[in-house]
């Protein structure tokens, strides 16, 4: 087995139907599992942003990027390792009040993770945590040890790059300018 790395791929595309399908098909073709996926509107009008994380080899990630970039309605795709981006995800925990209250240091545990309590009822409380994947994993493990987690959900990861600007807006304005000059 070749060494694998966790990569985060950021894709900007037009907001047409069927693009997610085309992007996902690139991963299927290379038999690479998507670990996490988030798709949402970007800061630019009609441009959608995908944040995809996957564990694969350097060789495969190059193929994946080339194939995604080749899709006609994809504006740009680039990939990053963890030290090149700031990333975050959100998790929600539905915690059984009874078991939770029987534990000694409960509130200290939640405060230690910088959680946010969304809802409290006599039966359960809902706690939200935004942060790194590691923090979410770690809180889940601690709560699970208590045996109080009734439901757990986490979002796909979102990320911003460490670089100065959204490079895609520069790319688009450069292309539009070249076209105007040609015409």
């Amino acid at each position: 087995m070749e060494d694998t790395t966790l990569y985060t791929i950021i894709v900007h595309s037009e907001n047409f139907s069927g693009i997610l399908n085309q992007v996902a098909a690139v991963f299927t073709r290379l038999q690479v599992n998507i670990e996490s996926l988030n798709v949402s509107a970007s800061s630019m009008k009609n441009v959608h942003k995908f944040t995809i994380s996957c564990k694969t080899t350097a060789k495969n990630i190059e193929k994946i990027l080339k194939q995604i970039n080749k899709k006609l309605d994809v504006i740009n795709a680039s990939c990053y390792t963890d030290d090149e981006i700031f990333q975050s995800e959100i998790a929600m925990f539905k915690i059984s009040t009874d078991e939770f209250q029987n534990w000694d240091n409960t509130s200290r545990l939640l405060r230690g993770y910088n959680t946010h309590i969304v809802e409290v009822t006599p039966e359960y409380l809902i706690v939200e945590l935004a942060g790194s994947s590691e923090a979410i994993n770690s809180l889940y493990e601690e709560l699970d040890r208590i045996g109080c987690v009734r439901q757990f959900v986490r979002s796909g990861k979102v990320a911003v790059t460490a670089s100065r600007l959204e490079p895609v807006s520069e790319l688009l304005s450069k292309r539009e300018e070249r076209y105007r000059n040609k015409v």
Binding site: G18, A25, K66, L72, D73, I75, Y179
Partner: protein, 566 residues
């Protein structure tokens, strides 16, 4: 331009096609496309519709048309099975960068998602094998979708585009307003040229003692044949061609050293691993060209000119990438080349050409006795046409023999399924080429296997009297697979022998004149009869059953490690 005139979506589609310069459509009607075929009847003065006998034939005919003419080929088919029958042609056009637009009928949008009669999610199915696939769901989208489809198909690195045309969009009324698409912000059809790279490449070539050029189909697609000629002539640069690039320059040009790769010319594969600078132009280092990548041109500095960013560095590490349309990049490079005489290096190819001639070519072309060889049939046809014909091939031994022994004097003269290797390609592609270039002779080579994959297109040839000169190299085997079985599977011929029909009777039932040649003494006369006959002709050459294509680089081996005999 607004007209206030309300027309049907089907009429709008035809008008949009005419606006894109379409004069030929290869099609086959069916339930989900009847309204468009109805509208077509009113435009037969502008559009020549060729009724094929199977939708796969429509796609290969459109490919042959596009490859011979440089225009975009168009197919019009129904939904469901009519649409799925085009998949092989779409995938073939994608791998060979051939501009075609496939328009397929689709059930009305209200029924989509109900598993209605002949419902196939064609957009989804075709997305991974084409450049762009789109479903037209409303009549007011037609002008935009057609304009975008043609722009995408023919620009940048060309390729197939699919339009699924829903029944409600076909019959709905719209005010037709023409649209022009020549810019898509997410798609760079003409990458900006980095002059620094041009300078680096020119410096590397100028300093080279043993430069070698690989010529690909990108030169034909970019219309850069003349720029390429100036480039190699100024630098005194010998070159080899990929299968799809064989007609970028006349075969007789002293710098043209023939074909690259597994069944290519020995000198090219040896020199690939001897050169100091390797200059690839509009080609993609396919595994049939490179052999084992671990031993491919490791000694050389590699320069790669291509319009498709995703090709650069894909298979072979590139030292100097030159992104852009090669028509422009070649001209910029040539300006910066120092005119050089490298005749000593060019002459050094001769030793290997002589070796190949002695050990392979002479016995293939001039065997003296025994059954006919495939190569001598190809050679006889090429000579009889003055090397001016368009060559169309099927896939397999017929393809490799034709590629090796047919010679070219005009651009855009080889039409073959390179990337996909689609058997059954030749007859319909020959039809398309013949319609695109009615003034040129079109020679279609095929084997007995491939002929029977699209033999129904004999009906198309009959109906339209398409003057294709078909040469069947009949060895009663799926010859290429049989050759591999002989060489690498201990002669265990697993299902490669074919019990064949009487091909002459078959041709005559389609009113296609034919002749069978068994004896060498009759070959020239038979070829002459074929070329002298007006209209289509089938020449069946009964060739040695166990003839092999040599030389050959065994799969996985270093490309210069060629078998000369077996």
């Amino acid at each position: 331009m607004k007209t206030n005139e309300q027309i049907t979506g089907s009429e709008a589609l035809i008008r949009a096609l005419i606006k894109e310069g379409v004069d030929t459509i290869f099609g086959y009607p069916g339930g989900a496309i009847i309204p468009v075929f109805d509208a077509l009847l009113d435009h037969l003065d502008t559009i020549n519709h060729i009724l094929v006998r199977h939708e796969q034939g429509a796609t290969h005919a459109a490919q042959g048309f596009a490859r011979a003419s440089g225009k975009t080929g168009v197919c019009l088919v129904t939904g469901g099975p009519g649409a799925t029958n085009t998949l092989t042609g779409i995938a073939d056009a994608m791998l060979d960068s051939t501009p075609i637009v496939v328009i397929a009928g689709q059930i009305a949008t209200d029924f989509i998602g109900t598993d209605a009669f002949q419902e196939v999610d064609f957009t989804c199915v075709t997305q991974p094998i084409c450049k762009w696939s789109y479903q037209i769901s409303r009549p007011d989208e037609i002008a935009w979708a057609v304009a975008r489809a043609f722009f995408i198909a023919r620009s940048g690195r060309p390729g197939p585009v699919v339009l699924s045309f829903t029944k409600n969009a076909q019959v709905g009324m719209t005010e037709y307003v023409t649209e022009k698409v020549d810019f898509i912000r997410s798609y760079d059809d003409d990458p900006e040229i980095d002059i620094t790279r041009i300078r680096e490449a020119a410096a590397a070539i100028n300093a080279a003692k043993r430069p070698f050029v690989l010529a690909g189909q990108g030169i034909e697609l970019g219309g850069a044949q003349e720029e390429f000629r100036k480039f190699v002539e100024k630098g005194g640069l010998p070159f080899g061609c990929t299968l799809l690039g064989l007609s970028v320059m006349p075969s007789s040009h002293p710098l043209n050293k023939g074909m690259l790769g597994m069944h290519g010319n020995y000198c090219n594969n040896v020199k690939t691993n001897e050169c100091d600078v390797l200059i690839a132009v509009g080609m993609r280092f396919d595994d049939r060209v490179t052999g084992n990548l671990a031993t491919y041109a490791r000694q050389a500095k590699v320069i790669h000119l291509d319009i498709d960013q995703s090709e650069i560095g894909k298979n072979v590490a590139v030292d100097i990438p030159v992104l852009g349309n090669c028509r422009k990049t070649l001209a910029l490079l040539t300006e910066r080349l120092v005119a050089a005489d490298r005749s000593e290096w060019v002459d050094s190819f001769g030793k290997y050409q002589d070796e190949e001639y002695e050990r392979v070519v002479r016995r293939e072309l001039y065997p003296g006795s025994g059954p006919l060889n495939m190569g001598e049939v190809v050679n006889a046809v090429s000579e009889a046409t003055g090397h001016r014909a368009i060559l169309v091939t099927d896939v397999g031994q017929n393809q490799m023999m034709a590629a090796r022994y047919f010679r070219f004097s005009e651009k855009r003269s080889i039409i073959t399924s390179g990337g996909m290797g689609t058997m059954g390609y030749a007859i319909p592609a020959g039809i398309g080429a013949s319609i695109a270039c009615p003034d040129r002779t079109v020679c279609v080579f095929m084997g007995d296997g491939g002929l029977q994959m699209t033999v129904q297109e004999f009906g198309t040839i009959m109906e339209h009297r398409i003057p294709v000169k078909m040469i069947l190299l009949n060895n009663n085997y799926l010859g290429n697979v049989r050759q591999w079985q002989q060489l690498f599977y201990d002669r265990r011929y697993s299902f490669t022998h074919l019990a064949n029909p009487d091909f002459q009777t078959l041709a005559s039932s389609y009113d296609i004149p034919s002749r069978r040649v068994i004896d060498r003494a009759d070959l020239q006369d038979a070829v002459k009869e074929m070329l002298d006959t007006d209209g289509p002709f089938l020449l069946e050459a009964c060739v040695a059953e166990e003839g092999n294509v040599m030389p050959m680089t065994p799969p996985g081996q270093s490309i210069d490690n060629m078998l000369m005999e077996c």
